[in-house]
Subunit: 333 residues, 4 copies
């Protein structure tokens, strides 16, 4: 639609699409609204829409992902998370422990990352673990502790939902619902997220191509929730010197292909505490819209991922380094 | 336990384990019962159990997977699927279309694969698809058609469950519940499978190591369902000449590490119709307990995976080749 | 050319090609000669050749590899190695130690593999080792020992050349010159092999696609040596349970794309002694033209690759298993 | 050795090592000399050396790579290339076309990259190409053109040697001899490089682990040439959206394991012109000591790698971005 298209004009286009038996997907932007169309079997004639009032042009999307593509919406999507912006010109920093373990632990972590300049608190209450015998998270108790930490610090809460059953509860407590790497192609869960009224942070599967990842995002958006951010967290390769191979190539590739914000997780990506700051700096220099970093008050006692968690002091130092890089490329925190 | 341990002796050991605050997992075998123990924090003293009547010995399992390991149970697990055996000395063949598409299609496929010698009918009613715009399966309608095909042919039905919500319904219709590659680490779903009274065919995730896969099986078994078979279906590598890289190395590696049956899916594994028979033969020669093969009455019209589905005639020819190899190594169909 | 084209007709076509400023590559076959043409910038008009006496037809090769493709030559290439055939209907078995270590070792190995039914002796005199501090081979001394073993047993010798400098000496002693995985894209060496009057066994690079591998073979053939066999020896993937991932998918894929013989190395492929026989059986069932297997009189004392070498007794048992499979598919040793 | 150890003290230690039948490897540093020892079968007693004058301490190296490890030499190696430093605090930028194609092309490229601030000119005279039918480089003619460009611009020349035969000639013209990714484990060539009196830029093999790469560098250093720099250029993964997967994780991992300089090649790494600048920025932020970037006066006419080459104007813009990041982290060009 044109920048100043009226709501009535938008509505008229939506109606026209419906009248053709197709599904309209209005995607709001700061400057103009785009309206994706799905449900067509073959190509549609652009002339069906181009004459309508307020329509700028009708574009055929060449990519298999439609609603998330830059072809449908040129400008960056900016997700407003209760006043904190994810995407657009600023750098959002999310930090906190892998798992919520106790009240003291999460509050200490929250205050520490807040002091250092983070705007989101991360922490898992439901934990997908390779072994059934490992710590599986505090469940609702953990969510309550995250809410308490939010209350005390003002940080926004990012936490993972593992299944449709617990999704409503997680969505109630979370400001952003995280979907873990192993659930990236849990299509049933993705469809459910379409109906959730919270932004989604969709982690890349360990062996997912960029295109498969964008198709997973398309599941969420086409089911009704346009507020999706993507999170690169390392792919699986032959290299064993690092836990995963953080694929920063995905950052510029994604920024060209999609309007969604791109967050990078250097903690899982490289998996080695000493090297997390270098990868965080590199992620910002590559153009990431956000970082998500594991910080634990006492990493050696962490119930999960201790070897890749920073101490509060290390995180504060990382934030200084990140600020320098972010400042140099004109992307303030 | 010793081969002739009485039910009362088994029960006494189970009670002893419980009395220590631990969880017993009796794993029935054709010759003797093994009892796995989980819930311990550190190593247990074998002397706690070795003196009990009927106990042969108490073994510490060195692998991270416990109940599914050969250390716990030396002899092959044989899963009885309504009279058809999966595992042990025979080769089980599962065949049918990728998706159930219509009554005619599934019945035609079922009769054809039955004629050629398959004992299981495969076919998806719930389809995990990379794109939200692709055919997603006929859902319960598809399950009913599978049941109809079973009624007409006597074939056992293998079909996929995609989520906890539809699992009860799938389990009601299916003889074996398949878990797809992308759900291999959907831990919430794996836990639910522990309570299901049907065997599970657990496909390998496209980038899952053998150890992660066995840990996934451990989720199901430790939650109460010991009837799990593993299905190799190709891993993701750099090679683009084939759809996936069928990893037959996994067959002997698994047979050494676990007592669970191992099935191979050459159709997804190599993904090219012309080469499915070669990989099916190789799988049998490598020691697989079963094959699962895509067969469609009319592959070029298939709604999914047509390029890797065999025609009924091609399948009949494949069965001849497989019979020769299976016979040569003393593993009859 | 037609099956009964005369040498004079072949020569006339070769001349015609030269007269156009192009390079002719006659590729002899048991039934008819094919003549590849390289050096053209764009497509050539088939009419240039189709009228010539003895020409059956003129085909444009669609693949980037030309002379090695099935399009140029439909029938399998059979390499005659001093009376022993590689390719075509029989299964060739090559066996012996990773490295030649001493006279006793190589003679003992040679007699053992001969007794068990192998027709080629493998053994490295020049060893590419990851570490400069590891055993680098006996060099010419090793070649002489291989020649002695050949004299005593009648086995043909397969041994590796690592560089252009030692290639002439290796080619003098060897019946088949092996090119190792790490040299698969050593293009200078490949060009030199074009001028060598011995068959070449070209191992697949650990991360080479099938197409890159065929392009490497094309280097040898287009430089004048049409006697090339390909050897699958495992690719590098994320899996760490095995040394490499033996990619048997490559066997049917290659058999469709190229007329060159395909040999499989299960020893490097899976890298675990206990599982070599399963993979050897599977390779034969998949359609391999040959096997190359590491056998050492005393694997635990081997200077290299002991963990994947079979004992003579294990090899004899493997040969029994392989014979059964080979017999079942009509491919005698 | 201690910082102020005299040459005579160093010599005495070297002699002592020789007298034990071992090989000494003095590794000069700006502050102090380290002396690596190889040739020992088992562990040596540190007391053999600790009492000698000028010796600071005797350390057992735990890594399989010895001379290149940080354990042997803590401080960064700085390679002096005719007055231009590679390694240490500054960022070295190498740029130029993939292949030398003509006098005009290489001179235009050289002047352009010089103007934009590069200090090294890259360009291949010997080209390893996947296909034997692709442009293979201008050979000595190309080397002469590089020398001419050096004369006109003062840039140092980095160019590839492909084999032992042409190595002496390449080394005569080059200021830095590049070893390509496919030759990273060409051990014969690596040994020869030990005797070359020019620094070596050793590219990572497409599927080489960091440890294998360091072992390859160890081949060069242990054969006598300590002036080796490592070049990350992308690894092979399952992802097809990029040509390779530039593995920036390797940068901090290497900086911790080795004292050798680390250069990053974003051009081959991501393989897409539009995204080279983002990866160049990220490489610098991750801590690289240098960049090597493909620049061609007219990429669309390039005989190789046009799709990943920058125009001179794009390169000048990249240099501006890189300067900002380099400045921000206190690493000037």
């Amino acid at each position: 639609m044109k920048p100043h298209a009226t709501p009535a004009e938008v509505e008229a286009v939506v109606e026209r699409i419906r009248s053709l038996g197709l599904t309209p997907h209005p995607i709001p932007g700061t400057q103009r609204v785009a309206i994706g169309i799905t449900g067509n079997k073959g190509a549609l004639d652009p002339a069906l829409f181009e004459g309508l009032p307020g329509v700028r042009d009708a574009i055929r999307v060449s990519q298999p992902f439609k609603l998330v593509s830059r072809e449908v919406k040129e400008e960056d999507t900016v997700i407003d998370v209760g006043g904190v912006r994810l995407g657009g010109g600023r750098l959002a920093v999310m930090a906190g422990p892998c798992s919520v373990e106790s009240k003291d632990q999460i509050l200490e972590a929250a205050h520490a990352v807040k002091r250092a300049g983070a705007s989101f608190l991360r922490g898992g209450a439901y934990k997908p673990r390779t072994s059934p015998y490992d710590f599986q998270g505090l469940a609702e108790e953990g969510l309550k502790l995250l809410a308490l930490a939010r209350e005390q610090t003002g940080l926004k809460v990012v936490t993972e939902a593992m299944d449709a059953e617990t999704l409503p509860m997680v969505a109630e407590y979370a400001d952003v619902v995280q979907i873990g790497a192993r659930n990236m192609q849990n299509f049933s869960l993705l469809k459910r997220l379409g109906a959730v009224d919270k932004p989604v942070l969709l982690k890349r599967g360990p062996s997912a191509t960029v295109r498969e990842w964008l198709m997973a995002a398309e599941y969420v958006v086409s089911n009704g929730n346009p507020r999706v951010a993507l999170c690169e967290r390392g792919i699986r390769t032959f290299e064993t010197a690092t836990r995963n191979t953080l694929d920063l190539n995905a950052v510029p590739v994604l920024k060209a292909l999609t309007h969604l914000p791109v967050v990078v997780d250097p903690s899982h990506g490289i998996g080695l505490r000493a090297h997390v700051p270098a990868m965080a700096r590199a992620a910002v220099a590559a153009g990431a819209d956000g970082l998500i970093v594991e910080v634990h008050p006492c990493p050696e006692k962490a119930l999960s991922d201790g070897q890749q968690s920073l101490t509060p002091a290390e995180f504060a130092s990382l934030m200084e380094q990140v600020r320098v890089i972010a400042g140099a490329i004109g992307r303030p925190l």
